[in-house]
Subunit: 336 residues, 4 copies
């Protein structure tokens, strides 16, 4: 357990960051690797917290198309039942003889009505069949207006996708050491004016023995870049002011250490501000390593090649003695 640091009093007022000081169950991860929070909402009805539009926007393509085709089928079954109930004699042009054939014809008539296709081989006669068809075609118009909106909504969402290195590293930096991780832009979207914030969280034992979770904003060598053309290694120098100063791998594990990352950028392709979040837990830190370059200059043409599959590549690098390192227990640097 880590004792009160001189920053504690200042940091006390950070306790309401959104997680609170009481989250001290060491097995709880605050932020998942994919940037979602480990929080479930309770206490309000499903409908007050559910957002149908976002649900339909965010589901996978196969599932989205499945939902549409299922809705289309169910709707046609429903209206076919209504037409059969009204009586197929009100559908001019029906040629089937059996109830099943009647239902099938009513089903296809319904599909021709809701899509506003309207071949007209079968057409409604009489007030009720005509009225139901008029209503159904209107519903079809509204349904397809909805599909249009959903498809546009799905497509126009920025698809910014940063890849993070699988592990963060603690490696040599200038005369001391630094904690670092690396990101690169998977898509060809242009990302502009990137800003990164890293919050370090760990459980600390107060003098009375009570455990509290503390949050520290880490100083970064560089927290903004103008654009992300190649890769970007974010570096936190472990100097005397760093909460990581003098920390060993065991300390980090015992304190349930977690690095919470928030990256903000302007996606120039979609003209929108985008955010990504991620986190590295104590067991996602490799001690004594540094990243190897992801890009190479081409010889035969004038392009630079960025190898996205090398984002996690690192090599062993000796840590300075100032970093307490107990070899047998710490992760060792490996070419990933």
């Amino acid at each position: 357990m880590i004792k009160k640091t001189r920053k504690q009093e200042i940091r006390d007022d950070e306790k309401d960051l959104g997680f609170g000081t009481r989250l001290t169950a060491a097995s709880t991860r605050l932020l998942n690797r994919d940037g979602t929070f480990n929080v479930r909402r309770r206490g309000l009805s499903f409908w007050r917290t559910f957002d149908l539009y976002q649900h339909l926007i965010r589901m996978s393509w196969p599932r989205f198309i499945g939902v549409i085709l299922l809705t289309y089928t169910v709707e046609n079954l429903l209206f076919a039942s209504i037409y059969v109930t009204i009586g197929v004699e009100n559908l001019d042009g029906v040629v089937g003889q059996t109830p099943l054939a009647h239902f099938a014809e009513a089903f296809f008539f319904s599909s021709q009505t809701i899509t506003t296709l309207g071949y007209g081989r079968i057409s409604p006669v009489g007030f009720w069949a005509s009225a139901v068809a008029a209503l159904e075609s209107m519903l079809g118009i509204m349904g397809f207006a909805l599909i249009t909106g959903l498809l546009y909504g799905r497509f126009s969402r920025p698809t910014t996708k940063l890849i993070y290195s699988e592990k963060s590293l603690i490696g040599p930096y200038q005369d001391g050491a630094a904690w670092m991780f690396r990101v690169a832009n998977v898509r060809s979207n242009q990302l502009i004016e990137l800003e990164v914030q890293v919050t370090f969280s760990r459980i600390e034992q107060l003098e009375g023995g009570r455990k509290v979770r503390r949050f520290y904003a880490l100083n970064l060598e560089r927290s903004k870049v103008n654009f992300l053309a190649l890769s970007w290694t974010i570096v936190h120098p472990i100097d005397a002011d760093s909460p990581l100063h003098g920390t060993s791998p065991e300390d980090l594990r015992d304190a349930d250490g977690e690095f919470i990352i928030l990256i903000k950028a302007f996606d120039d392709t979609y003209s929108q501000t985008v955010h990504t979040r991620s986190s590295y837990r104590y067991d996602e830190v490799t001690w004594g390593a540094r990243f190897t370059p992801m890009f190479e200059e081409a010889n035969n043409d004038q392009n630079v090649r960025l190898h996205l599959n090398r984002v996690s590549n690192c090599e062993r690098a000796e840590l300075p003695p100032s970093m307490t390192r107990i070899p047998g227990k710490a992760n060792v640097a490996t070419k990933l």
Copy 2:
């Protein structure tokens, strides 16, 4: 009535915040709980101030669907009248014998035209009927383009929904007291980079006896957080610089005190900046209480559970003697 404070001169230039110093009718609430202003616009024609699109975007779903179905029905009645006026003999395929049957067939023909369904059992013959049908189908196209836009507009509006605690509290804080309220995010939208501003407004009596309304920006313990994963308690410490310093519940009521809240956040789900507003009036302040936690760590899984229905939950907490409190008259803290 509260006398001039040492901040008055500075604050004098805030009188044009949008409410002015002259709003001194104590019964007037500046901002409603739902964030709308207590202002009615006059003096310009209805059409210059009316915004049809926003009206259609913001009305409830049942009403919106009602408006569409009503418009559809009225439009068909109108065009049916035109077709009957031109003469049903120009509609090939009409089989009805009575004027009413003719009108009904014209009505359904109209519905099949405006939805571009076009079964063709009934079809226009001759110039005028054909021309009216050509125009109607074009109107239908435009109308349904409109519905598409409206549906998309309705769906793509951020549905950020913060719940505010029903009352704000004045409770113990460090060595003194603080005014505080709590918010939580109802939806699963990710809210990022939240900023809150609280303006305190009250009526003050100038030395000459004239009453003016003054506005004070309240200092907050923390006015920005990176994300709102759980709940957030916004705290204004009542120190010597606070306009609430030395204020009793009676003072607050007599001065028509109101706390105006403006929260700004980035909705990461909709990629848009959103604002919410609310206000607490003097009678929405509970004296001598503090909030109880809304979340709990699960034992059987690794999620944190946030109980949204506990946003207003508080417990009685003794105020320090420095806060003038007259028990019999002040609100008492209750588990809500």
Copy 3:
């Protein structure tokens, strides 16, 4: 003409604000009242500078609907000609006998095809008529996709509309004088976080006799407000640092003085940042006046009423002697 002020050297580097120091023809207004610039683009072909989408988005509603109906008519005339050229015998169901009747039937067949109405009383037979109909229906789909986008684009543009007072005033302010104007929000859109910048421009005579146009950023009593619930009077105190210090109405006129206004706000209804621009020229400044309130507190209900038609209302107010004022020539304050 005004001589070099002590700020000139600093301001020299502002000469490339976008207007330049060489615009010294006194009759040229830089910015029009409606916020457009007095600039015409030349030297590139029409198509490189023309933006069809914005043109269709910004034109008036009657004109927009006119453009659509005209396009629809012209398109049908064109395709009718094609069908007639291919031969009406390829359109099954045509009953007319004369060339004109044939053309009319082809015209309406075209309209039924492009709207995807397809009654089917007339339908294409043979390769060429069918192929043209297949192409036309596809064009129709694309055209109506376009209309949908345009309608949504027209509706979803923020309709922020600030009204500016007709004249700006120079009136008494604290112990001295100030230049001021007033704005109010016409629409019920919520405007948040308003920021205003005022640039004062005038022609000055250098020591060598050459005239240059200079730009001064005016200090404002308050350049930001949180929201615009009622009206907002923007005030520039004419103190010793002001470029207006010691200026008479005649000076202002001779120097071709112009106040250029840029207001930025967040439209909470449309979730977008909006800007409005305007300008007051020397002849739109009323000397010796102050604005009268636009709002009143209601007695019978709890709303405040904002009278938008009173935005320009002002009353005569004596200027302090420090402002050089030559009564006979200056504008006089009038109730507008």
Copy 4:
């Protein structure tokens, strides 16, 4: 080669700007004139990096329409094959006698189905043909929803288009010299609150002989303007702090000097923030020149005329002796 400057140590931490210090092949241009980066992404599958929506949004209009018509044709060929496989006897109304005629009729029936045109002269009979037609019309609805979204996406992208002067200049400025370039707004979009950043990059030789690429943020005479009504000349004064101080044209060429430009603006017409990027390499710098005005005041009307084709126009201007200039080798200023 340029030796270490006194800024090197500070700039060392800029090495991860996104290009890195290792890009020292002199033939490699970092940023192309049109603002794209000289980077190719490798190492991930095509589909993880491909963005179909952006591809369809950004392709030229003729190509976009070609893609749509091709998709339409291929889809109809496909479904015609299905209908023929099921058997044309299931398509009521087919009159052709040959297999080719059958296929053609099935093709046009398919086109009438997918556009929801549905004349009905040919209509499906029996379960399978009806089911395929029901599916096809649904696919048509979704396809045209897609086209609507794509068209809107294409149109609603800001079309901001700045033109940059073909060359940047090094010319006289006050008592010394400055590097400068000029931009103007091609479109009539209103650009507001422009900000420019210029980064100068060159290869430097460390004391050990190793070459590294360094990046310098250039100080600008003015890096923000409120609006871009006419043209804007961006000026970097070459003072003692400038990395260009004492640089000759030969030095610039040998060090592979490149000026990287990032301009950010708010497009008031589209209500969006837009960015443009460009770069000038050592061979795009003209030594000893200054820009001539692009605009003129009209005599017969009150507009200012901006001649966009004059954006690169410059005239010869003597550089002060402090700039080392070797005439025979440097570019000479020419009227472009």
